[in-house]
Symmetry: C3
Subunit: 380 residues, 3 copies
Amino acid sequence: MAEDMDSANTAGTRASGASYVEAKLGFRNYWYPALFRHELESGEAKGVRLLGENILLRKVGDRVAAVQDRCLHRGVRFSRKPECYTADTITCWYHGFTYSLLDGKLVDILTEPGSKMIGKMSIRTYPVAEAKGIVFVWVGDREPTRLEDDVPPGFLGEDLAVEGIRDEVKSNWRIGAENGFDTTHIYIHRDSPLIGGNHLMLPIGLVPATKQGIETHAERDPRGVFDSMAENYIPVFEASIRGEKVLESRGARGEKRVAASVSIWMPGVLKVDPFPDPALTQFEWYVPIDVDTHMYWRVLGKRVVSDLEAAIFRDEFHSLWKPLALHGFNDLDVWAREGMQEFYKDDEAWSQEHLNKPDACIVEWRKLASKHHRGLQPVK
Amino acid sequence: MAEDMDSANTAGTRASGASYVEAKLGFRNYWYPALFRHELESGEAKGVRLLGENILLRKVGDRVAAVQDRCLHRGVRFSRKPECYTADTITCWYHGFTYSLLDGKLVDILTEPGSKMIGKMSIRTYPVAEAKGIVFVWVGDREPTRLEDDVPPGFLGEDLAVEGIRDEVKSNWRIGAENGFDTTHIYIHRDSPLIGGNHLMLPIGLVPATKQGIETHAERDPRGVFDSMAENYIPVFEASIRGEKVLESRGARGEKRVAASVSIWMPGVLKVDPFPDPALTQFEWYVPIDVDTHMYWRVLGKRVVSDLEAAIFRDEFHSLWKPLALHGFNDLDVWAREGMQEFYKDDEAWSQEHLNKPDACIVEWRKLASKHHRGLQPVK
Amino acid sequence: MAEDMDSANTAGTRASGASYVEAKLGFRNYWYPALFRHELESGEAKGVRLLGENILLRKVGDRVAAVQDRCLHRGVRFSRKPECYTADTITCWYHGFTYSLLDGKLVDILTEPGSKMIGKMSIRTYPVAEAKGIVFVWVGDREPTRLEDDVPPGFLGEDLAVEGIRDEVKSNWRIGAENGFDTTHIYIHRDSPLIGGNHLMLPIGLVPATKQGIETHAERDPRGVFDSMAENYIPVFEASIRGEKVLESRGARGEKRVAASVSIWMPGVLKVDPFPDPALTQFEWYVPIDVDTHMYWRVLGKRVVSDLEAAIFRDEFHSLWKPLALHGFNDLDVWAREGMQEFYKDDEAWSQEHLNKPDACIVEWRKLASKHHRGLQPVK
C-alpha cells in the first residue's frame, strides 16, 4: 500500500527505522529527569525506574546521590523500605548491608560486623545533575556529557523559572514523543477548555506549505528536530468532508498565538514555544520506564527577573496552568497515547502505519534518533 | 489409557482432530452474528471483535455498514471515540482521517485538507447481512455465501419472531459449542428453576440406544450434525452409584417434553427444538472473540402469525424466558465452560480427554468441522 | 565480582546449584502437608495444589483419601463444585462421572448408567498420612517412605501438641525456605512486638565463630542441615556504621533465650528450637504451589503430658502465640520473601547474588538438596 501514499515521507520513515524501532527502552548515555528535587526534601531515599533500571536517590548534604536500587547480597530493592542511618549511606532492610551513596562501596554489614566483604564490593553509582528543581540521572557507561547537551536550548537559561508535574503513562516512550511532536494531533484538543479559557488561536489542522521548514540539528549536542510551525504550515480552522463543512475551530478567533515552534531533542524531550501562553514555554520529557510505560514530564518555564516573580509564577502554575493546561489540555494526550499503544506494541506496526505529509517532522525525528543516538538500551 | 475406553468414539475424535484443534479462532468465510440491530439504532458507531478482528459497525440509511476498526494512519481503533459527521463516514478521533463506511475509501483528512492520500487508500469493508433483528458480518476473503447457508434450518422462516441476548464468556468458542451440543450435560441443569417453573420433563442423563440416530449433513450448506434426541437415547431419571439410588430427576414428572432434537451447524451455531418450551426453539451462537473468549448468543424463536403475536412474544421473552430460561438455565452453561477452559487452553487436552458414548455427537461435530470448513482463521 | 567475596561459601553455592536451581516446583517423592485435618471435618471434599498438581482430599471414614482433582472425561476440577453422594466417592459436577476415593476407579457415570467405561478407568490416587492434626500427601511415583523420614526430628514425638496456620505466599518455595533458615534475617524482626512482649533475648545480627558448627545430616532420612546457633555465632546487639553506633537491639536485655538451634530438612521444612518461647518449638513448611507461590505453614509444638495441657496450649495458641508470634513476628518474613521474589524469579539471580559468611548454612542446605533429593518435580 506504500505506493498509494505520500512517498517521500514514508520512504524516509521506513529507511530510518532500524535503531529507532529497536529503542523500546530508549537510548543509553544520556541525562534523564528522575524526579523533582522537592520529592527528596524529606531526606528519605526514593526509588525510580529509568530505562528498565531501578535507581535509588537521596540527598547527601547539598547534592543528590543515585545508586542502583538493588542490594548485592540477595537482590532486594532498598526502596521497598529505605533505611538511612547516616547522612551518606543506604542500609538494606533485609540484612543491614550498608553502602556509601557517594561511591557505592559496602561500608558495613549491620548483621555481620567485621565481614571480609566490607570495603571490597560496590553497588553501581549514577552521575547526577540538578537544574531547575529537577534531578537528572546519567544512564549509561560513557563519561557523562554536560547537562546542556541533553536538554532543549534555553531550558537552562538563568532567568527561566520552572514548574511541573510527572505521571506514569501506559505506552511506550516513543508513542509519547511522537504524540507530542505531532503537528496535527491538535485535532484532539479542539474542545479543550484551555482554548477559550486562555483565548488561544488554535487551528484544527495544518496543511504543510510547499517548502518545508523542518530543520534537523545534528552537528552538535543537543541534537534535535526543529519545526517552525508558524512558517511551515497553513492553519486549518474549518474541517470539511466532501466539501461539506462539519467542524469549526473554537480557537479561530482567539487572540493569543502560541506554538510558533515545536522542537524535539535527544533523548526524547519536547519544547513548545510559546505554550500554553505567549509568556510561557512548555517542555515535555518522555522517559522510558519499561517497554510499555513511560514517565511523562509536563514542565512550564517562564522568564522572571526576581524571586518575587518566580514565586508569583509558582502560584499561577498551581492555581491556573496545572489544572487548565497540563491537565485540561494534556490529559487528552495521555489518553491518545494509550490508544496508540495497542497497535504499536507489536513491532510490525512501524511498517504497517501510513504516515501523511504533516508527519514529515516525525519522520525527521526518527531519522535523527536512529542515526545520532549514543547507544541503545538493551531489552532483557 | 485409550484402550480402556469406548474405542469407537474416541478413535473418531482423535483422527478427526487436525483442523478443529487448530481452529482456536474459528473458521473464516462464514457469516457471524455481530450485534443486535437495536444496538445501532442510536446512530452511533459500535465496535465488536470477531475471530480476533476489530470491526466497526454503523447504520448507513437503512442498512448497516461494517469496516475495519483501525485507522490506517496510526492504527488506533475508531470505536474508542467514534466520530460521525456525515451519514456514511467514520472519522478517526486522532487526526481526522475520514473514511466512507460504504467502500472504505479515505474521503478526507480533517487536519490536512487536500492531502494526496485522499481517495487513494481504503480500509477494509465487511459484507453485512441482517435477519431477525441480528446483524451478521461475513468474516473471510471469498465471495459471501447466502446467509441461509450459515444459519440453522428454519431460523430464517418468515413467521419466526426472534428475541435474544449476547454475553462474553471466558472460554474458547469450541468449549461453548461442545457444551451446547453435549447431550448429557443436562446433568448440571437438574436443579434449574426452569424445570419446575415450566413443568419440563427433563432427565438427568441419557443412555445411547443401540442404533445411533446421529445424522451428519455434509452434502450442502448449512452443514451440521443432527441428533434426534427423542429417538436416540433412553432417558435416565434416577442416578445410582453401585446400585444405590442417589439422585432423582426433578423433571421426571414434568408434562412438557422439550429438546426432541439438538443440532449444530457451521460455523458454530446450535438449534434446540423445541426449547425451553414446546412452542419455542432455542438458537445459540458461539462466536470466537479471542482464543480464550467467545460471544455467547442465546436466542429464542417463536412462530407467530401477526405483529401482535410478535409483540406479545417480546413481552413474554423479557418478563419470563430471559430470566427463567436464558439466565436461570443457561447461566450454568457459562459457568461450566469457564471450568473447562482451564484444561482445554492447553492443546494437549484434546488428546488427554476421555469421551464416552453419549459424546458421539460431539465427535461427529468435530469431524464435520475439521473436514468441511471453508478456512481456518489464523492465530497471530 | 566473585573474587571480592567470602570465597569459601560462594564457591560452594555456585558449585552446588544444579538441581536446586532447577527445583522451581520442588522435589518429588516426599511427604508434603496438604491441609489441616479440621479443614475436612465437615465431610466436604477440598482441593489443594501441591508442586503444581491439583489434588482433592476428603475424609473417608476415619482416614483421609486423596485423588487427582481432575475428571478424566473433560478435565474439569471436581473441587469447583464437589459432589459426594456416598461415603467414599467423588462425583464430577459436569456429567456425573463418579470415582472411588479409595482406588480412583470409575464406579459409575450418573448420566450414562451401564457405560462400558465403568470399572475400566481410574484417576490417580495419592498416598495420605496423618500426624499432629495435619494431613500429609505423598507426591511422587516411588513407594512412599515412612512419614518420619520427611519431617524434622521430634515432630512426631508422642507428647508433642501441635497448632498452626497456613497461608499462600507470593514467592517461590526456595525463597521461603532460605528466608526461614537464614541466620541473620533476624535483623528484620528487631522491632517485633514479640521481643518485648515475650522478653526474648534476640540479637540484631550474628558473627560466625571461627569454627563452624553447621552439621549436614545426609546419611539417612530425614536429611537436613543443623545449625547450632547458640554455639556457632557471636550475637550482635549493637549495629555500627563506620564505628558509629546506629542501632541497638531491643532484645539485648530479654531474659528468655530462644533459637538455640535452627535446622532445615528435606523436602523443605524448618525447625527452630526453642521458639517463640523456651517452652515451644516452631516448625515451618514451604510447600510449592506453583513456580511463584508457596504454602507457608507456621506450626508450633509444645510438650504436654495430658489432654488438659493440650487444650490449654490450644487456647494459648489462639489467644497469644498466633497473633504475637506467627503474625506479629512471621508476617514480616512473608513481606521479605515477596521482596526477594522479584530478583529470584529470574534464574540468573542464583549466580548474581553475593552470599556472605553467615549464609554458609544456606549454602549447605542448597548442597544437600541438590545432592540428596529423591527427584525433581518437572516444570511444564
